[in-house]
């Protein structure tokens, strides 16, 4: 094979799908063929059966909706705080000098370790779930946006100054629009991470949501349900990512033209 040589779109699709098939086939072979104990790993067919029962009988779709709401609620909360702060840090160096050391430190505080504390503060209700996602996302967003904004093309800023922009005009009509697509991309990335935090939040002290269903299934050794839950999370994550990407493309046609 020639290194770095591009692959045709048709072949790319075929190859991409065939790994999925291979993966499921291997899974079916070790489970249906009796190579692993059914208690530890359900086969694909009973996974689908369990999933169907979950949706129809146990109203699992309600859990899905609750989880989606938590992810977006926490994510929106984090974005509303982090985006203006990130822009301020990137644009004004004293603000950066003031906040950057703390935010860099706070970024390494694991969101999951905050759960016991957040339960003490906010109980085990919705607010606590939102806060876990908030803590997990907010510092990341601030830092990434501050770096992007800080590397705004200087020649564009200079051009705007020679056209009469004030300091305020530079921030609002050069720095912000210039970085808007990158900011949206950052949010898309962090939304993906928020999906992992929400499950962690739902594993502890929760009575609803996909994560709750998973931990609940563990005690009943319902591995089919667990796998179904994991796949549902993956699919929703993939869908929201596609939607976000399409939205960004629609919002910023100039960055692709």
């Amino acid at each position: 094979m020639r290194p770095l040589h591009p692959v045709s779109p048709g072949l790319r699709t075929v190859l991409g799908i065939s790994f999925f098939l291979l993966f499921v086939a291997f899974w079916a072979w070790i489970t249906l063929g009796g190579h692993v104990n059914r208690i530890f790993l359900a086969d694909p067919l009973s996974m689908l059966r369990d999933g169907w029962r979950l949706l129809v009988e146990d109203r699992f779709w309600l859990d899905i909706l609750i989880t989606i709401w938590r992810v977006f609620g926490g994510f929106v909360l984090a974005s509303v705080v982090a985006v203006p702060l990130g822009i301020a840090m990137g644009a004004w160096k004293p603000v950066e000098a003031f906040l950057e050391p703390f935010v860099s430190f706070a970024r390494y505080l694991p969101a999951s370790a905050f759960i016991p504390l957040l339960i003490l503060w906010a109980g085990i209700g919705e607010l606590e779930k939102l806060l876990v996602i908030f803590v997990g996302s907010v510092f990341q967003i601030i830092l990434i946006i501050a770096v992007k904004v800080g590397s705004t093309r200087r020649d564009l800023v200079e051009a705007a100054y020679t056209l009469g922009s004030t300091n305020n005009g530079i921030v609002r009509r050069v720095i912000m629009p210039a970085n808007a697509p990158e900011i949206a991309e950052t949010l898309r990335l962090v939304l993906g991470w928020a999906w992992t935090y929400v499950i962690v939040a739902e594993l502890i002290g929760s009575s609803s949501g996909i994560g709750y269903m998973i931990i609940n299934s563990q005690s009943r050794l319902a591995t089919g349900q667990i796998i179904f839950g994991i796949i549902v999370i993956g699919l929703i994550g993939l869908l929201s990512d596609f939607a976000f990407k399409a939205f960004n493309r629609w919002l910023f046609p100039w960055s692709l033209a």
Partner: protein, 260 residues
């Protein structure tokens, strides 16, 4: 009438890691009359761009001062329009919105802007491209938009920092004619930095030749070729004589730069 006065302007850059400070520009004195087209010609690294950036207010001189219409320049402003060598159109704005940028910053109403923008779109021959994104334009079209953007503000002086430096030779020639044509019709004070001898002579009413770094003014050559100028002028005997003279001037400097 004196439009721009550069008095003893020099620039020294602080040394890197405690090293010797670097002198980029020796004290320069220059007087520019209103509606003059001045080209500043020099080998690369001679500080000609630095001089232009000081006039624009994007850099501060280490010594000396710049006066525009008798007022000292301290910071960039819309009275000194600038066209850069790099493509600096705002990528999130269309051609028309780019040209309107300065007017909008001034708070001009949209209706009033539209008329001005349309006339400058026309002036640089971009009719039909008003709603294109910068990315969809060729380099020459981007620089035409940048010129229109700077002119739409009706600045007192137009500063151009090797604006056609990144263009291919043919486009470059066409752009020179376009800009000169605009200047011949509209009359504007222009400071044009270049390292291209032919370009410097063709555009200018005065060529300022600078020495190798640290730059200072080596010669000040009046170009008395008649206007309107046509590209065929570049093959005329008068043009060749000037070119030979300036080539000799600049060659010495280029050799000094190369040997450093």
């Amino acid at each position: 009438m004196i439009k721009l006065l550069i008095e003893g302007v020099s620039r020294t850059f602080a040394g890197v890691r405690g090293g010797e400070p670097v002198k980029a520009l020796m004290p320069v004195d220059l007087t520019v009359a209103a509606n003059d087209f001045i080209t500043i010609l020099g080998p690369s690294g001679c500080g000609k761009s630095t001089l232009l950036r000081i006039v624009a207010g994007l850099e501060a001189p280490s010594e000396g001062r710049v006066l525009l219409d008798g007022k000292a320049v301290t910071r960039p402003g819309p009275d000194r329009g600038m066209v850069f060598q790099s493509y600096t159109l705002f990528p999130w704005l269309t051609v028309a919105e780019n040209i309107a940028f300065g007017l909008r910053e001034r708070g001009m109403a949209e209706k009033e802007r539209d008329g001005i923008v349309a006339s400058y779109v026309d002036l640089v021959g971009l009719k039909g491209f008003e709603n294109h994104w910068p990315k969809q334009l060729s380099g020459g079209m981007q620089q035409r938009t940048a010129i229109a953007r700077a002119l739409a503000n009706d600045p007192e002086i137009l500063l151009l920092d090797e604006p056609f430096g990144a263009l291919d030779n043919q486009t470059r020639g066409l752009m020179q004619e376009l800009l000169l044509g605009i200047w011949e019709r509209r009359k504007k004070t222009v400071l044009f930095v270049t390292h291209d001898i032919e370009e410097a002579i063709f555009m200018a009413s005065r060529v300022i030749v600078m020495t190798a770094r640290p730059g200072r003014i080596k010669s000040d050559v009046a170009i008395d070729l008649p206007h309107p100028r046509h590209y065929t002028l570049k093959t005329s005997p008068e043009f060749s004589t000037l070119k030979a003279q300036l080539t000799e001037d600049i060659r010495v400097e280029a050799m000094r730069t190369a040997q450093v």
